[in-house]
Symmetry: C2
Subunit: 226 residues, 2 copies
């Protein structure tokens, strides 16, 4: 269960749509917890409404302070036109989820998943300032592989212009966390089924150099510590 934040400034303010109607004990608005969940991965699922219907697309993102930057070149016109002069921004919901374990209870009903998720509601805007756009793209690259933006050719003007970047401020935000073992019913405790948690692990395999890489170029340190 998430810890309560130590002061109101350390927490996002709950709103009607960030207070769940069930499992409310798993919800948290703690800023540090939210940042940690967001910083641990680089892929989010971004939802928006197109022609009245929901659309959910996977996309890369990075956090810079209280602002998220989302890589908008996902083939979706609403993402590429959000915040154009004629457009007041795009209502989005950005969700990030880590699965930490499979929770196997003695009863089918109490099976669960240990997870940590963050849901961000808000309005995404196209980043038009060239400096902010460049910094945002570097942040996305470095969010995937810390240190990498310094070891690659920076985007030129044409490339920068071809990349859509959206910003989304962290304001209406909540986390949900489930940890621990199964919660079996007392009358099930003597059932003969194995019960516990299977940890889910994530990691990286050995980097595979491109066919055309000069063999003199060794593996950089930042890839050995991934």
């Amino acid at each position: 269960m998430p810890k309560p934040p130590s002061s109101p400034a350390d927490a996002y303010r709950p709103t009607d749509r960030t207070v769940p109607t069930r499992s409310a004990d798993r919800a948290s608005y703690d800023r540090e917890l939210v940042h940690g969940i967001l910083d641990e991965t680089y892929l989010c699922h971004l939802g928006f409404v197109r022609d009245g219907a929901p659309v959910v697309l996977p996309t890369l993102y990075a956090r810079v302070g209280e602002r998220l930057y989302v890589h908008g070149s996902t083939g979706s016109r609403p993402l590429r036109t959000a915040g154009d002069t004629a457009d007041p921004g795009l209502a989005v919901c950005l969700t990030v989820t880590h699965v930490d374990g499979l929770v196997l209870a003695r009863s089918a009903f109490h099976h669960s998943i240990n997870y940590r998720s963050v849901v961000v509601h808000g309005t995404a805007y196209q980043v038009t300032d060239p400096g902010e756009r460049r910094a945002a793209l570097d942040a996305v690259v470095d969010h995937v592989v810390p240190g990498r933006s310094y070891d690659s050719r920076p985007a030129n003007a044409k490339e920068l212009a071809a990349t859509a970047v959206l910003s989304l401020d962290l304001d209406e935000v909540s986390a949900k966390v489930r940890t621990g073992g199964p919660n079996d019913e007392p009358e099930d405790l003597s059932l003969p089924h194995w019960t516990g948690v299977v940890p889910v692990v994530r990691g990286y395999g050995t980097p595979v150099p491109a066919d055309d890489l000069d063999p003199a170029v060794g593996l950089p340190d930042y890839l050995t510590v991934l």
Copy 2:
């Protein structure tokens, strides 16, 4: 790049909203490819519209033939009331994404991710038939841990009634796949940056028995092969 399906019956029919406006060469409607991506994991991101705004929640699902079942007890009222008598179903977008590798190009611009994703558009309905509801819940448990539904106490009537299950037919469906190495510009090939792919691996750690598990209950075979 995805293979073309061998016959029209092996593919979903593309629609306006499943044909991307960019990176269209990564799109596929191949049924077998879609099923494979859906069956490889158990967590989706489900999008719907609430009060005109998008909502994206992580939730468990399973595929049974051309139908997905989604565990609807996510604390969200729209998911729990979809398909009630007064409700014609809930427009949803269900997205599943596997990240397979980090693609490090010599230029920041050509950095990418190897991934496989499926996006399903459609209408989700509450599953009300008790038999289908039970089968759907078993399918969700077995989708997470194959074989587990036979080694746990089945849901009783009260538990079944307390669990929301939604169905979503596979009809308007597309996959997107990126594989392979970086696509650097010819003029960048001599730059001194390491370039290639860092594989992303997923797996399971050693199962952790619950504190109250009878030590005589050994680890079941289906957990040793996860």
